[in-house]
């Protein structure tokens, strides 16, 4: 299963790199996020083979990830009057998360506390963006809206991730492996859907350019 996921990472990263120039706003950061994830996952495999540990790469990636998500939601919220409140909340979590990574936790530990913090803020933000979509509906079918795919898959993925890491300390290693399988399946869906949202964004940009 993990091999399939690694292959998916390569495919989605190549597609995202190809679409990167044609995206705008949040989706440029989404494309970058997909590329960074693929690089980190492959780097992790190399690090495991050399140093028998990949936690340094994962700790570094969580910090990059929080900034990428900050910019993703900042662009999605750009014109909203409540963004300033949201911005303060997000920045507080970023500071806490970075501080945890660099000062409070051993860099050899898996960054699960940071992932929990990040999951919470991402769930909250994606729900707010979905709510914003309900307040300002557009004519385009919801299934052709990049924002919908991005927010719903991010919401589902991080809700599951949050649940998974909440259970992390409660389960034994075999049960954790079993849960890891769920997580891998989820990743196999998450990254292609993210890439699909990036692709939809390029189509939306093309249409808005034609429309003048």
């Amino acid at each position: 299963m993990h091999d399939i996921l690694l292959a998916i990472y390569i495919v989605v990263a190549i597609i995202s790199a190809f679409l990167l120039k044609r995206t705008d706003g949040s989706f440029r950061y989404v494309a970058l996020y997909i590329i960074f994830t693929a690089i980190t996952e492959w780097l992790s495999i190399i690090l495991i083979k050399i140093f028998r540990s990949n936690t340094i790469a994962l700790n570094g990636f969580v910090v990059i990830m929080v900034f990428l998500y900050y910019f993703i939601f900042k662009k999605l919220w750009a014109r909203d009057k409540y963004w300033n409140v949201q911005n303060g909340f997000f920045i507080t979590v970023i500071v806490l998360l970075v501080a945890t990574t660099f000062f409070f936790k051993n860099k050899d530990d898996f960054p699960w506390i940071q992932i929990l913090m990040l999951s919470l803020i991402i769930i909250y933000n994606s729900l707010l963006v979905l709510r914003q979509m309900l307040d300002e509906p557009v004519e385009t079918s919801i299934f052709r809206q990049s924002k919908f795919w991005l927010c719903s898959i991010v919401f589902i993925y991080y809700a599951c991730t949050f649940f998974y890491w909440c259970m992390y300390n409660l389960l034994n290693s075999e049960a954790l492996d079993y849960m890891m399988m769920f997580n891998t399946i989820l990743c196999c869906v998450f990254y292609p859907v993210l890439t699909y949202s990036v692709y939809l964004n390029t189509i939306e940009n093309k249409q808005s350019n034609i429309g003048g």
């Binding site: 509906p137 919801i142 919908f148 589902i156 809700a159 389960l171 075999e174 849960m179």
Partner: protein, 259 residues
């Protein structure tokens, strides 16, 4: 051990079902909102069309009244006088009466020409808004009573001809009001683009009037209706003894000729 697997499986399944149900209910709710939004838009469009039709109807009624009044007060009266002169023709005063008849008929023809000019939009269609307004002001100034000034900054813009006629009518009607009621010695007409809107400001230094009391008279409603047709607005300001300012504010998006 088996217990843990069972808990994980049940909890994971429950979570996935819960999340999927949330997304499905979001989609359903979003579609409902989309339909409501679409309905609101259609209602607004209908309302706008209804308002436009109403305004157009009122305008045509007003125009009919003006024509009827002009025929009755000017042309009708002049022709009646001419008829009287013809009926009372006598051999001893023939030359004088013939001259009077000639004058009266010439005046009637001139009145009809003026009325025709007032109603015809051909000049605007052929020469555009700026030139038509300039010509109108020149005509007013040629009487030698009122000094007119035109400040135009719309040289590079191309507007839809049908809207140019409506805008011209707005200017014409306001100028007619100034001529009839303001006792002004100067008129300044400024027309420019500001913030994607066309602004046309007509100022006079006349006696002014109470806007609130006279809003239903003086053809002011008529002027505002014309602005409404263009999806714009018309602001009338006046200070007694200091003159009046009428400002038309029309979105450029509707006016601009894309061809």
């Amino acid at each position: 051990m088996d217990n843990q697997f069972l808990i994980i499986t049940v909890a994971s399944t429950f979570l996935v079902v819960l999340l999927c149900s949330f997304i499905i209910s979001f989609i359903v709710h979003y579609k409902r909102r989309q339909n409501e939004h679409e309905l609101e838009k259609q209602n607004l469009k209908l309302e706008y069309e209804r308002e436009s039709d109403k305004a157009l109807l009122e305008l045509s009624e007003q125009t009919m009244r003006i024509i009827s009044q002009e025929i009755h007060d000017n042309v009708g009266q002049t022709l009646t006088l001419a008829k009287l002169q013809v009926n009372t023709l006598s051999s001893e005063n023939m030359i004088n009466q013939k001259e009077t008849c000639n004058e009266l008929l010439t005046r009637a023809i001139q009145d009809l020409r003026d009325m025709s000019r007032l109603l015809q939009g051909n000049f605007v269609l052929e020469h555009g808004l700026e030139k038509s307004i300039s010509r109108e002001l020149a005509l007013i100034e040629s009487a030698g009573v009122i000094k007119c000034e035109l400040n135009s900054q719309i040289g590079g813009f191309s507007f839809k001809p049908e809207f140019e006629v409506i805008l011209f009518r707005c200017a014409q009607e306001t100028l007619n009001n100034v001529l009839k009621y303001a006792s002004a010695s100067a008129i300044t007409l400024s027309i420019y683009i500001y913030n994607h809107r066309l602004i046309m400001k007509i100022q006079d230094n006349g006696i002014g009037f109470d806007v609130e009391k006279n809003i239903k008279g003086l053809g002011l409603i008529n002027i505002q209706n014309r602005a409404k047709i263009l999806n714009g607005s018309c602001l009338i300001e006046s200070i007694i003894g200091q003159g009046s300012t009428v400002t038309f504010d029309v979105p450029l998006q509707l006016l601009e000729n894309k061809n």
